[in-house]
């Protein structure tokens, strides 16, 4: 789709091209340094002892034997991490999650830690720590946890009406209109219930850090993170340090998808280092990543949608229960906001609950909460379309939101791409491809807000005219390439002349965590403004060199030009020429910008999926998959495609295979990649992509976020496809082989009963 510049007035020279990424060579040669790849002189190995119980009172921890083991330099319990949070409940939750205090709240909850001269000694020391537990009743299922007599996970959380402890830590209603009136107007109403299981982001790099604290209160932390500034602030608060005296450097990050937005063990590493007075390297095993970092919520939901015979939705209602793990989150709110965001609805309500259980603290996972809501809503949309006898794409188009629609979560939309993606789906050849026996096709759409937030960038021009760009959001999927493209575009120089670096916390002002698809949007904005700042300075230098007023200097195609007839003899001065003269014209040339980036553009995606289901085994094969998504402006289209394909693949895993399985003892039974099976190469087809570009008017280049939206539709798109293939509605993800076989057998049994009756 051609770029529409009607909102931004921008024509692009460099943005939208596909150069090679600057971190490519380091990453293909093994030179790139990730969380576990750094070392420091005299470093110790840190290890964490974790609760084997789902819920237990910690009666006593005896560390004396471990402390006496030669080579052990520090042993840590919650006593070494006093509560310095000053009544900040969110911060206290992080503290308690890093190290259990009176009670272990889930299988895998940290209870003690050691630092020793090598891994063997550290392992021995862990075995010598004796913890006396008193097991308590536990609950791991979201619906069970809401029952009146369920074991209470956090007694400090009370029901607002009764004042009694409850596991329901949040209730968020969202919507507008009159549901009763709306449903009364409907000719057809469909009401269904759904379940989704808990999944993990599954980044291939486990959490890892190298912490170094001196007795003078100064420290350094090298860590794999999506938000080194946030990590710094949290660690400094929990350890009682001055923020400026803790320098946090984000390593190359081996995937995050939301899971590395939260602090899990870094304060423990710093506290161990402080106690031992030596650097400590702390790396999670894969089992620890599954048991003790933050997966996404499991959910159960009830969805009710009514429409008239001609296909107009009159009312829509969603009740969704989000399982938050052992600590309160904002997941219900995000679910309530996203559930009906694709549609133009007069009467709608989403009521979402946050529920505590004895599982690890839930973290963000790519468009958190939206995929589960979309699974229920988009499945119900398909059932309703079928009952009305309307094509499912047409039914969605008839009700799709548009510019001026009052979104179900409050705001009135500006220009948006939901209709464009649906129309692209409608005309896509994939929709007309023939299907064989046991095969089915499904489609679904999805929404994500995208966010902006606090951001700052530095841009320094060297004397040879090459440019150092320093940004404070992190790079997982090619951000250094896209930021270099943006700087080159704005300055009017080649992409190759820009070198982009992720700054540590001592080199830049605060940058919010890289989440909510904010990296390209907000660092892009700060980079544009920093470049314009540098251009202003270069115009001043050119004016001085020419000895004319700065008002008579313009910037065109990478050069200062003197404007006005009387200046026609002056010609132009390129960035390189101005840079070369900079030592004589006032010193180094730099641009800087700090901004709270507002106006992130909402983004929509529509997906098409073909599957084949083996009726003997219940196994599903993805035959073909197409992603259509609005990017606003694709700065580097290849990396945008990569985000769309990666998000779809994660959605496919969630839809078909991935789930946390808890035993009756409340322990996680599959904390490894063998039993928690993410899609492998032979599971997937090529994933086709179509990028739409409906510019975001609030960004100078029209950029929206692109990272998350495409994990929202797959659960429902695949659910619809599988249901169409087998003729039975699937209402529980993952649609693993046993679950599909069970649904088929139940349907056959029901059919027999009908024919017998």
């Amino acid at each position: 789709m051609a770029h529409d510049n009607s909102y931004t007035g921008q024509d692009f020279q460099v943005v939208g091209t596909r150069p090679e990424r600057p971190d490519g060579v380091d990453k293909v040669t093994g030179r790139a340094r990730y969380g576990a790849d750094a070392s420091a002189p005299g470093q110790l190995v840190g290890l964490i002892l974790r609760s084997p119980h789902a819920h237990a009172q910690i009666k006593k921890i005896d560390t004396s034997k471990a402390e006496k083991l030669p080579g052990v330099k520090a042993v840590l319990t919650s006593k070494d991490l006093p509560d310095l949070t000053g009544g900040d409940a969110g911060m206290y939750d992080i503290l308690e999650n890093c190290m259990a205090r009176e009670r272990a709240l889930y299988d895998g909850h940290a209870v003690a830690a050691v630092a020793a001269v090598d891994a063997q000694t550290a392992k021995k020391a862990l075995k010598l720590i004796k913890v006396q537990y008193k097991k308590l009743p536990h609950v791991t299922d979201v619906d069970e946890a809401m029952k009146p007599n369920a074991p209470i996970v956090q007694p400090r959380i009370k029901d607002k009406e009764t004042g009694k402890p409850t596991n329901v830590c949040g209730i968020v209603p969202m919507g507008h209109g009159d549901l009763d009136e709306g449903f009364a107007q409907a000719d057809v109403i469909v009401e269904r219930s759904y379940k989704t299981e808990q999944t993990h982001q599954g980044y291939i790099e486990p959490h890892a850090c190298l912490a170094s604290m001196g007795p003078d209160g100064q420290g350094e932390l090298w860590v794999t993170t999506q938000g080194h500034f946030t990590y710094r602030n949290v660690c400094a608060t929990l350890l009682g340090l001055d923020i400026a005296k803790l320098k946090v450097t984000s390593s190359e990050i081996g995937g995050g998808f939301g899971g590395k937005t939260h602090v899990w063990m870094e304060p423990v590493a710093l506290a161990l280092s402080r106690k031992a007075n030596r650097p400590v390297k702390l790396v999670m095993t894969r089992e620890e990543v599954f048991r003790a970092s933050g997966p996404t919520c499991s959910t159960s939901s009830d969805i009710k949608i009514g429409a008239t015979k001609d296909g107009r939705i009159t009312a829509a209602q969603a009740t969704i229960r989000y399982q938050d793990g052992a600590f309160p989150g904002i997941w219900g709110m995000l679910g309530a906001m996203t559930a009906f965001a694709c549609y133009d609805l007069k009467n709608c309500q989403a009521l979402c609950y946050d529920v505590l259980v004895n599982r690890p603290k839930v973290a963000a996972y790519r468009a958190p909460s939206a995929p589960m809501a979309a699974f229920g809503v988009e499945s119900t949309m398909d059932i309703l379309a079928a009952e009305l006898g309307i094509d499912p794409v047409d039914f969605r188009l008839m009700n799709a939101a548009d510019e001026g629609t009052k979104a179900a979560y409050g705001p009135v939309y500006g220009p948006i791409g939901i209709k464009a993606t649906l129309e692209a789906v409608k005309r896509h050849p994939h929709m007309r491809a023939r299907l064989g026996k046991n095969q089915g096709r499904g489609m679904a759409c999805g929404f994500w807000f995208n966010i902006g937030g606090q951001t700052c960038s530095d841009l320094n021009i060297g004397v040879d005219g090459t440019v150092n760009l320093t940004i404070g959001t992190i790079d997982v999927g090619g951000a250094r390439a896209s930021m270099s493209l943006i700087a080159a575009e704005e300055l009017g120089i080649p992409y190759e002349d820009v070198k982009c670096t992720i700054g540590d916390t001592a080199s830049l002002g605060h940058n919010d965590t890289t989440e909510g698809s904010r990296g390209t949007f907000s660092s892009g904005m700060a980079t544009i403004f920093a470049a314009r700042d540098a251009i202003d300075e270069m115009k001043k230098r050119a004016a001085a060199m020419w000895e004319i007023p700065v008002e008579e200097v313009a910037w065109e195609n990478g050069a200062a030009v003197a404007v006005g007839k009387h200046n026609s003899n002056l010609g132009s001065l390129t960035l390189k020429e101005i840079a070369r003269k900079s030592p004589q014209t006032g010193g180094p040339i730099a641009g800087h910008n700090e901004v709270t980036a507002d106006g992130a553009g909402v983004s929509f995606a529509s997906h098409i999926c073909d599957v084949e289901v083996d009726p003997e085994t219940g196994a599903t094969k993805i035959l073909r998959y197409t992603v259509v998504q609005d990017a606003g402006k694709a700065v580097h289209p290849t990396y945008v495609e990569g985000q769309m394909q990666g998000a779809a693949a994660q959605g496919i895993g969630w839809a078909l295979n991935e789930e946390y399985i808890y035993g009756k003892d409340g322990r996680l039974q599959n904390p490894g990649f063998l039993d928690y099976r993410v899609p492998v190469c032979s599971d997937l087809p090529f994933i086709d992509t179509e990028i739409m570009e409906i510019p975001n008017p609030s960004h100078p280049y029209g950029v929206r976020g692109v990272g998350e939206t495409s994990i929202v539709p797959p659960l429902a798109a695949i659910g619809n496809a599988v249901s169409n293939a087998v003729g039975v509605r699937m209402n529980h993800v993952p649609m693993s082989p046993p679950r599909i076989l069970k649904a088929l057998r139940e349907a056959q049994a029901a059919e027999k009963q009908v024919s017998a009756g």
């Binding site: 040669t29 291939i204 790099e205 081996g254 998808f257 090619g478 779809a648």
Partner: protein
């Protein structure tokens, strides 16, 4: 646990190190030899991020002991580029954007190299099954498969022109 002296060849260089008998080859490479290209994603042989070759056989170095390298030849991602020139697979991975975060990339490159040496002209299906032991969570594998197919094509072309010259 006692330690053992190991003499081995890594990426063509004679290397010696001392490691405890229970230490994995992955840890020996990373912590004793300083080659951190191979990554630990799982430690149980499920993710392939630690892929290296041992006497030309593709292995998960987290499932091999450091002492097993004694008298044998180990090749890692650090040995793929020769004389300052990237291997064709490395070039194609960058060109096709077959990496995002890059943590799985060393393992994929070593595994793909092992595939192309065994089967210089693989089908899409053969590439997908040969790489099924390597997990990538970022790309959905699309661009990885394309990069490997393209590298195979390029390498066949190079081999053809080499044999013609002879």
């Amino acid at each position: 646990m006692s330690s053992v002296h190991v003499s081995t060849t890594i990426n063509g260089d004679a290397v010696e190190y001392v490691c405890p008998v229970g230490e994995t080859l992955l840890d020996s490479l990373r912590d004793r030899v300083g080659l951190t290209g191979a990554k630990e994603g799982c430690g149980t042989g499920d993710c392939g991020a630690c892929s290296v070759t041992l006497d030309d056989q593709l292995v998960c170095s987290c499932l091999v002991l450091g002492v097993e390298a004694n008298g044998r030849t180990v090749n890692t991602v650090e040995g793929m580029a020769q004389d300052g020139e990237l291997h064709v697979l490395q070039k194609k991975f960058i060109e096709h954007a077959a990496l995002q975060c890059g943590i799985c990339t060393p393992g994929f490159l070593v595994a793909a190299d092992a595939l192309l040496q065994r089967n210089p002209n693989p089908t899409v299906e053969e590439v997908r099954y040969a790489l099924a032991g390597n997990l990538c969570r970022c790309t959905g594998y699309d661009k990885i498969v394309r990069a490997v197919l393209d590298a195979g094509k390029e390498m066949r072309k190079q081999n053809k022109s080499k044999s013609k010259k002879r």
